[in-house]
Point group: C3
Chain length 136, copies 3
Protein backbone atom coordinates (compact mmCIF):
# COMPACT_ATOMS: atom_id res chain seq x y z
CA UNK A 1 0.00 0.00 0.00
CA UNK A 2 1.47 3.33 -1.09
CA UNK A 3 -0.01 6.76 -0.41
CA UNK A 4 1.34 10.13 -1.56
CA UNK A 5 0.59 13.61 -0.34
CA UNK A 6 2.29 17.00 -0.33
CA UNK A 7 2.67 19.80 2.21
CA UNK A 8 3.00 23.40 1.07
CA UNK A 9 4.78 26.20 2.89
CA UNK A 10 5.20 29.90 2.30
CA UNK A 11 7.03 31.32 5.28
CA UNK A 12 6.82 34.98 6.33
CA UNK A 13 10.55 35.06 7.10
CA UNK A 14 13.37 34.01 4.82
CA UNK A 15 14.52 31.54 7.49
CA UNK A 16 11.95 29.76 9.60
CA UNK A 17 11.68 26.34 11.28
CA UNK A 18 8.18 24.85 11.49
CA UNK A 19 7.03 21.80 13.44
CA UNK A 20 5.15 19.47 11.07
CA UNK A 21 4.72 16.28 13.15
CA UNK A 22 0.93 16.64 13.29
CA UNK A 23 0.59 17.22 9.56
CA UNK A 24 2.65 14.09 8.82
CA UNK A 25 0.64 12.09 11.38
CA UNK A 26 -2.61 13.17 9.70
CA UNK A 27 -1.38 11.99 6.29
CA UNK A 28 -0.33 8.65 7.76
CA UNK A 29 -3.76 8.26 9.34
CA UNK A 30 -5.48 9.08 6.04
CA UNK A 31 -3.31 6.51 4.24
CA UNK A 32 -4.68 3.61 6.26
CA UNK A 33 -1.15 2.17 6.64
CA UNK A 34 -0.77 0.43 10.03
CA UNK A 35 2.76 -0.94 9.66
CA UNK A 36 5.43 0.63 7.45
CA UNK A 37 7.38 3.81 6.90
CA UNK A 38 6.75 7.39 5.86
CA UNK A 39 9.27 9.45 3.92
CA UNK A 40 9.12 13.22 4.49
CA UNK A 41 11.36 15.00 1.98
CA UNK A 42 11.87 18.64 0.95
CA UNK A 43 11.34 19.11 -2.80
CA UNK A 44 13.33 22.36 -2.86
CA UNK A 45 17.08 22.45 -2.42
CA UNK A 46 17.22 25.36 0.01
CA UNK A 47 15.02 23.73 2.65
CA UNK A 48 15.47 20.78 4.98
CA UNK A 49 13.47 18.31 7.03
CA UNK A 50 14.86 17.06 10.32
CA UNK A 51 13.91 15.43 13.61
CA UNK A 52 14.89 17.10 16.87
CA UNK A 53 13.60 18.93 19.95
CA UNK A 54 10.58 21.24 20.07
CA UNK A 55 12.26 23.87 22.23
CA UNK A 56 12.61 27.45 21.07
CA UNK A 57 16.02 27.99 22.68
CA UNK A 58 17.48 24.99 20.87
CA UNK A 59 15.95 26.10 17.57
CA UNK A 60 17.73 29.43 18.01
CA UNK A 61 20.96 27.57 18.86
CA UNK A 62 20.62 25.61 15.60
CA UNK A 63 20.19 28.82 13.62
CA UNK A 64 23.16 30.59 15.23
CA UNK A 65 25.28 27.49 14.72
CA UNK A 66 24.33 27.10 11.05
CA UNK A 67 25.15 30.76 10.44
CA UNK A 68 28.61 30.10 11.84
CA UNK A 69 29.22 26.92 9.83
CA UNK A 70 27.66 28.18 6.59
CA UNK A 71 27.47 31.99 6.68
CA UNK A 72 25.31 34.07 4.36
CA UNK A 73 26.77 36.93 2.32
CA UNK A 74 30.11 35.38 1.38
CA UNK A 75 31.45 35.58 -2.19
CA UNK A 76 30.06 32.19 -3.23
CA UNK A 77 30.56 31.11 -6.85
CA UNK A 78 26.87 30.26 -7.04
CA UNK A 79 26.08 33.97 -6.74
CA UNK A 80 27.66 34.63 -10.14
CA UNK A 81 24.45 33.14 -11.59
CA UNK A 82 22.44 35.96 -9.97
CA UNK A 83 21.43 33.88 -6.94
CA UNK A 84 22.19 35.03 -3.38
CA UNK A 85 21.26 31.87 -1.46
CA UNK A 86 24.31 29.59 -1.60
CA UNK A 87 24.37 29.50 2.20
CA UNK A 88 20.82 28.10 2.18
CA UNK A 89 22.01 25.12 0.08
CA UNK A 90 24.83 24.49 2.58
CA UNK A 91 22.67 24.94 5.67
CA UNK A 92 20.06 22.49 4.47
CA UNK A 93 22.83 19.97 3.80
CA UNK A 94 23.90 20.11 7.47
CA UNK A 95 20.32 19.67 8.71
CA UNK A 96 19.39 17.01 6.15
CA UNK A 97 16.61 17.23 3.60
CA UNK A 98 14.56 14.18 4.49
CA UNK A 99 13.59 11.79 7.26
CA UNK A 100 11.94 8.40 7.36
CA UNK A 101 9.62 7.76 10.27
CA UNK A 102 8.52 4.22 11.10
CA UNK A 103 4.78 3.56 11.42
CA UNK A 104 3.82 1.04 14.10
CA UNK A 105 0.24 0.11 15.03
CA UNK A 106 -1.10 2.90 12.83
CA UNK A 107 0.91 5.75 14.38
CA UNK A 108 4.28 7.47 13.95
CA UNK A 109 6.75 5.44 16.04
CA UNK A 110 8.65 8.39 17.55
CA UNK A 111 10.59 8.68 20.79
CA UNK A 112 9.27 10.95 23.58
CA UNK A 113 11.06 14.08 22.37
CA UNK A 114 11.21 13.46 18.64
CA UNK A 115 9.43 16.07 16.53
CA UNK A 116 9.57 16.51 12.75
CA UNK A 117 10.54 19.98 11.51
CA UNK A 118 10.54 21.77 8.18
CA UNK A 119 13.59 24.07 8.00
CA UNK A 120 13.19 26.89 5.50
CA UNK A 121 16.39 28.75 4.54
CA UNK A 122 15.12 30.72 1.54
CA UNK A 123 11.42 31.29 2.06
CA UNK A 124 8.84 33.94 1.36
CA UNK A 125 7.69 31.87 -1.64
CA UNK A 126 5.60 28.71 -2.05
CA UNK A 127 7.52 25.49 -1.47
CA UNK A 128 6.67 21.84 -1.27
CA UNK A 129 7.43 18.72 0.80
CA UNK A 130 6.53 15.22 -0.39
CA UNK A 131 5.09 12.74 2.11
CA UNK A 132 5.20 9.15 0.86
CA UNK A 133 3.63 6.44 3.00
CA UNK A 134 4.40 2.78 2.32
CA UNK A 135 3.36 -0.36 4.16
CA UNK A 136 0.42 -2.56 5.07
Amino acid sequence: MVHTDYLFFETAQRQEFLRITDKVAAIVKASGVREGMVLVSAMHITAGVYVNDWEDGLIEDFQVWLEKLAPAGKPYKHHQTGEDNADAHLKRTIMGHQVIVPITAGALDLGPWEQIFYAEFDGQRRKRVVVKVMGE
Copy 2:
Protein backbone atom coordinates in the same frame (compact mmCIF):
# COMPACT_ATOMS: atom_id res chain seq x y z
CA MET B 1 6.06 -7.99 5.33
CA VAL B 2 6.93 -5.58 8.14
CA HIS B 3 8.86 -6.42 11.32
CA THR B 4 9.66 -4.07 14.21
CA ASP B 5 12.22 -4.38 16.97
CA TYR B 6 14.10 -2.08 19.32
CA LEU B 7 17.66 -1.89 20.60
CA PHE B 8 18.41 -0.46 24.04
CA PHE B 9 21.61 1.23 25.13
CA GLU B 10 22.90 2.58 28.42
CA THR B 11 26.47 3.68 27.84
CA ALA B 12 29.04 3.95 30.64
CA GLN B 13 30.44 7.18 29.18
CA ARG B 14 28.48 10.27 28.27
CA GLN B 15 29.83 9.99 24.71
CA GLU B 16 30.37 6.58 23.18
CA PHE B 17 30.18 5.07 19.68
CA LEU B 18 29.04 1.44 19.47
CA ARG B 19 29.12 -0.87 16.46
CA ILE B 20 25.64 -2.38 16.00
CA THR B 21 25.89 -4.11 12.61
CA ASP B 22 25.50 -7.60 14.09
CA LYS B 23 22.47 -6.63 16.18
CA VAL B 24 20.74 -5.18 13.11
CA ALA B 25 21.67 -8.25 11.03
CA ALA B 26 20.15 -10.52 13.70
CA ILE B 27 16.86 -8.60 13.63
CA VAL B 28 16.77 -8.79 9.83
CA LYS B 29 17.34 -12.54 10.01
CA ALA B 30 14.55 -12.95 12.58
CA SER B 31 12.20 -10.94 10.36
CA GLY B 32 12.35 -13.44 7.52
CA VAL B 33 12.63 -10.61 4.99
CA ARG B 34 14.83 -11.68 2.03
CA GLU B 35 14.49 -8.57 -0.16
CA GLY B 36 13.78 -5.10 1.17
CA MET B 37 15.13 -2.42 3.48
CA VAL B 38 15.79 -1.90 7.17
CA LEU B 39 15.51 1.46 8.88
CA VAL B 40 17.73 1.97 11.94
CA SER B 41 16.79 5.18 13.71
CA ALA B 42 17.68 6.75 17.05
CA MET B 43 14.55 7.52 19.11
CA HIS B 44 16.36 10.07 21.28
CA ILE B 45 17.46 13.42 19.96
CA THR B 46 20.95 13.45 21.45
CA ALA B 47 22.08 10.26 19.72
CA GLY B 48 22.80 9.33 16.12
CA VAL B 49 23.07 6.31 13.86
CA TYR B 50 25.60 6.33 11.05
CA VAL B 51 27.53 4.08 8.66
CA ASN B 52 31.30 4.34 8.49
CA ASP B 53 34.58 2.60 9.28
CA TRP B 54 35.22 0.27 12.22
CA GLU B 55 38.63 1.73 13.07
CA ASP B 56 39.35 3.19 16.50
CA GLY B 57 41.59 5.98 15.19
CA LEU B 58 38.89 7.23 12.85
CA ILE B 59 36.28 7.07 15.60
CA GLU B 60 38.54 9.30 17.70
CA ASP B 61 38.97 11.62 14.70
CA PHE B 62 35.18 11.89 14.40
CA GLN B 63 34.87 12.79 18.09
CA VAL B 64 37.63 15.42 18.01
CA TRP B 65 36.12 16.89 14.83
CA LEU B 66 32.60 17.04 16.26
CA GLU B 67 33.91 18.78 19.37
CA LYS B 68 35.45 21.41 17.10
CA LEU B 69 32.32 21.90 14.97
CA ALA B 70 29.83 21.72 17.84
CA PRO B 71 31.63 22.35 21.12
CA ALA B 72 30.22 21.51 24.54
CA GLY B 73 30.04 24.10 27.32
CA LYS B 74 29.10 27.15 25.26
CA PRO B 75 26.33 29.53 26.42
CA TYR B 76 23.61 27.83 24.36
CA LYS B 77 20.05 29.16 24.69
CA HIS B 78 18.84 25.60 25.24
CA HIS B 79 20.68 25.59 28.57
CA GLN B 80 18.32 28.22 29.96
CA THR B 81 15.79 25.37 30.30
CA GLY B 82 18.15 23.63 32.77
CA GLU B 83 19.65 21.31 30.11
CA ASP B 84 23.39 21.17 29.45
CA ASN B 85 23.41 19.06 26.29
CA ALA B 86 22.79 21.43 23.37
CA ASP B 87 26.06 20.31 21.79
CA ALA B 88 24.75 16.72 21.76
CA HIS B 89 21.77 17.82 19.65
CA LEU B 90 24.13 19.53 17.19
CA LYS B 91 26.64 16.68 17.06
CA ARG B 92 24.00 14.09 16.29
CA THR B 93 22.73 16.33 13.49
CA ILE B 94 26.16 16.23 11.80
CA MET B 95 26.39 12.44 12.11
CA GLY B 96 22.78 11.78 11.13
CA HIS B 97 20.16 10.05 13.25
CA GLN B 98 19.15 7.21 10.95
CA VAL B 99 20.26 4.96 8.14
CA ILE B 100 18.48 2.66 5.73
CA VAL B 101 20.30 -0.53 4.80
CA PRO B 102 19.17 -2.57 1.79
CA ILE B 103 18.47 -6.27 2.33
CA THR B 104 19.46 -8.52 -0.57
CA ALA B 105 19.22 -12.32 -0.56
CA GLY B 106 18.36 -12.30 3.15
CA ALA B 107 21.37 -10.30 4.32
CA LEU B 108 22.40 -6.67 4.87
CA ASP B 109 23.70 -5.46 1.49
CA LEU B 110 26.72 -3.52 2.81
CA GLY B 111 30.02 -2.65 1.15
CA PRO B 112 33.25 -4.25 2.42
CA TRP B 113 33.99 -1.53 5.00
CA GLU B 114 30.48 -0.38 5.89
CA GLN B 115 29.56 -0.83 9.54
CA ILE B 116 26.51 0.55 11.37
CA PHE B 117 27.22 2.59 14.50
CA TYR B 118 25.17 4.00 17.35
CA ALA B 119 26.62 7.37 18.38
CA GLU B 120 25.70 8.37 21.92
CA PHE B 121 26.31 12.02 22.85
CA ASP B 122 24.40 12.20 26.14
CA GLY B 123 24.43 8.73 27.61
CA GLN B 124 24.60 7.13 31.03
CA ARG B 125 20.85 6.54 30.80
CA ARG B 126 18.64 4.05 28.97
CA LYS B 127 17.97 4.96 25.34
CA ARG B 128 16.31 3.30 22.39
CA VAL B 129 16.80 2.71 18.66
CA VAL B 130 13.97 1.49 16.42
CA VAL B 131 14.74 -1.13 13.77
CA LYS B 132 12.01 -1.43 11.15
CA VAL B 133 12.32 -4.13 8.49
CA MET B 134 10.16 -3.99 5.37
CA GLY B 135 10.12 -6.21 2.30
CA GLU B 136 9.34 -9.67 1.01
Copy 3:
Protein backbone atom coordinates in the same frame (compact mmCIF):
# COMPACT_ATOMS: atom_id res chain seq x y z
CA MET C 1 8.06 -5.70 -5.60
CA VAL C 2 11.78 -5.23 -4.93
CA HIS C 3 14.48 -4.60 -7.53
CA THR C 4 18.22 -4.24 -6.93
CA ASP C 5 20.91 -2.79 -9.12
CA TYR C 6 24.36 -1.26 -8.68
CA LEU C 7 26.19 1.70 -10.20
CA PHE C 8 29.97 1.65 -10.57
CA PHE C 9 32.28 4.64 -10.62
CA GLU C 10 35.98 5.13 -11.14
CA THR C 11 36.63 8.85 -11.17
CA ALA C 12 39.64 10.43 -12.87
CA GLN C 13 40.13 12.87 -9.97
CA ARG C 14 40.43 11.99 -6.31
CA GLN C 15 37.46 14.28 -5.60
CA GLU C 16 34.63 14.51 -8.12
CA PHE C 17 30.87 15.08 -7.97
CA LEU C 18 28.79 13.31 -10.63
CA ARG C 19 25.12 13.81 -11.46
CA ILE C 20 23.40 10.40 -11.44
CA THR C 21 19.69 11.30 -11.66
CA ASP C 22 19.29 9.75 -15.12
CA LYS C 23 21.02 6.51 -14.11
CA VAL C 24 18.72 6.15 -11.09
CA ALA C 25 15.66 6.97 -13.23
CA ALA C 26 16.64 4.26 -15.73
CA ILE C 27 16.88 1.65 -12.95
CA VAL C 28 13.49 2.68 -11.59
CA LYS C 29 12.00 2.36 -15.08
CA ALA C 30 13.54 -1.09 -15.53
CA SER C 31 12.13 -2.19 -12.16
CA GLY C 32 8.53 -1.70 -13.24
CA VAL C 33 7.70 -0.06 -9.89
CA ARG C 34 5.03 2.65 -10.36
CA GLU C 35 4.52 3.68 -6.72
CA GLY C 36 7.17 3.37 -4.04
CA MET C 37 10.66 4.49 -3.08
CA VAL C 38 14.20 4.07 -4.31
CA LEU C 39 17.20 4.02 -2.00
CA VAL C 40 20.48 5.24 -3.50
CA SER C 41 23.35 4.52 -1.12
CA ALA C 42 27.15 4.66 -1.38
CA MET C 43 28.73 1.29 -0.51
CA HIS C 44 32.12 2.85 0.23
CA ILE C 45 32.73 4.99 3.27
CA THR C 46 34.65 7.78 1.57
CA ALA C 47 31.87 8.67 -0.87
CA GLY C 48 28.46 10.26 -0.49
CA VAL C 49 25.13 10.54 -2.28
CA TYR C 50 23.16 13.75 -1.98
CA VAL C 51 20.39 15.80 -3.61
CA ASN C 52 21.03 19.40 -4.56
CA ASP C 53 21.49 21.83 -7.45
CA TRP C 54 23.05 21.02 -10.84
CA GLU C 55 25.08 24.23 -11.02
CA ASP C 56 28.86 24.17 -11.36
CA GLY C 57 29.42 27.24 -9.18
CA LEU C 58 27.49 25.72 -6.30
CA ILE C 59 29.35 22.43 -6.66
CA GLU C 60 32.60 24.35 -6.32
CA ASP C 61 31.16 26.17 -3.28
CA PHE C 62 30.37 22.80 -1.70
CA GLN C 63 33.92 21.59 -2.28
CA VAL C 64 35.56 24.75 -0.88
CA TRP C 65 33.22 24.62 2.11
CA LEU C 66 33.91 20.94 2.84
CA GLU C 67 37.64 21.59 2.69
CA LYS C 68 37.18 24.27 5.33
CA LEU C 69 35.00 22.13 7.62
CA ALA C 70 36.96 18.90 7.15
CA PRO C 71 40.42 19.69 5.80
CA ALA C 72 42.75 17.16 4.21
CA GLY C 73 46.33 16.70 5.39
CA LYS C 74 45.79 17.12 9.14
CA PRO C 75 47.39 14.72 11.64
CA TYR C 76 44.33 12.46 11.88
CA LYS C 77 44.62 9.34 14.08
CA HIS C 78 43.23 7.27 11.21
CA HIS C 79 46.43 7.96 9.29
CA GLN C 80 48.44 5.93 11.79
CA THR C 81 46.97 2.86 10.02
CA GLY C 82 48.70 3.92 6.81
CA GLU C 83 45.59 5.62 5.35
CA ASP C 84 45.61 9.26 4.26
CA ASN C 85 41.89 9.79 3.67
CA ALA C 86 40.36 10.62 7.06
CA ASP C 87 39.04 13.89 5.63
CA ALA C 88 37.11 11.91 2.99
CA HIS C 89 35.26 10.04 5.75
CA LEU C 90 34.35 13.35 7.41
CA LYS C 91 33.35 15.09 4.19
CA ARG C 92 31.02 12.31 3.14
CA THR C 93 29.40 12.49 6.58
CA ILE C 94 28.52 16.17 6.03
CA MET C 95 27.06 15.47 2.57
CA GLY C 96 25.26 12.28 3.59
CA HIS C 97 25.83 8.83 2.12
CA GLN C 98 22.33 7.99 0.92
CA VAL C 99 19.04 9.41 -0.26
CA ILE C 100 15.57 7.99 -0.72
CA VAL C 101 13.60 9.27 -3.68
CA PRO C 102 9.85 8.71 -3.87
CA ILE C 103 8.47 7.10 -7.04
CA THR C 104 5.09 8.42 -8.15
CA ALA C 105 3.27 7.36 -11.34
CA GLY C 106 6.36 5.44 -12.51
CA ALA C 107 8.84 8.32 -12.23
CA LEU C 108 11.18 9.89 -9.67
CA ASP C 109 9.05 12.38 -7.72
CA LEU C 110 11.62 15.20 -7.57
CA GLY C 111 11.17 18.96 -7.26
CA PRO C 112 12.12 21.22 -10.19
CA TRP C 113 15.74 21.69 -9.12
CA GLU C 114 16.43 18.43 -7.33
CA GLN C 115 19.22 16.34 -8.85
CA ILE C 116 20.90 13.26 -7.37
CA PHE C 117 24.70 13.39 -7.09
CA TYR C 118 27.45 10.92 -6.34
CA ALA C 119 30.17 12.68 -4.32
CA GLU C 120 33.54 10.96 -4.56
CA PHE C 121 36.16 12.01 -1.99
CA ASP C 122 38.76 9.27 -2.50
CA GLY C 123 38.42 8.11 -6.06
CA GLN C 124 40.66 6.87 -8.84
CA ARG C 125 39.52 3.34 -8.02
CA ARG C 126 36.37 1.33 -8.71
CA LYS C 127 33.54 2.01 -6.29
CA ARG C 128 29.92 1.01 -6.01
CA VAL C 129 26.49 2.47 -5.19
CA VAL C 130 23.48 0.29 -4.44
CA VAL C 131 20.09 1.24 -5.90
CA LYS C 132 17.21 -0.56 -4.23
CA VAL C 133 13.71 -0.02 -5.60
CA MET C 134 10.67 -1.04 -3.56
CA GLY C 135 6.98 -0.62 -4.24
CA GLU C 136 4.11 -1.70 -6.46
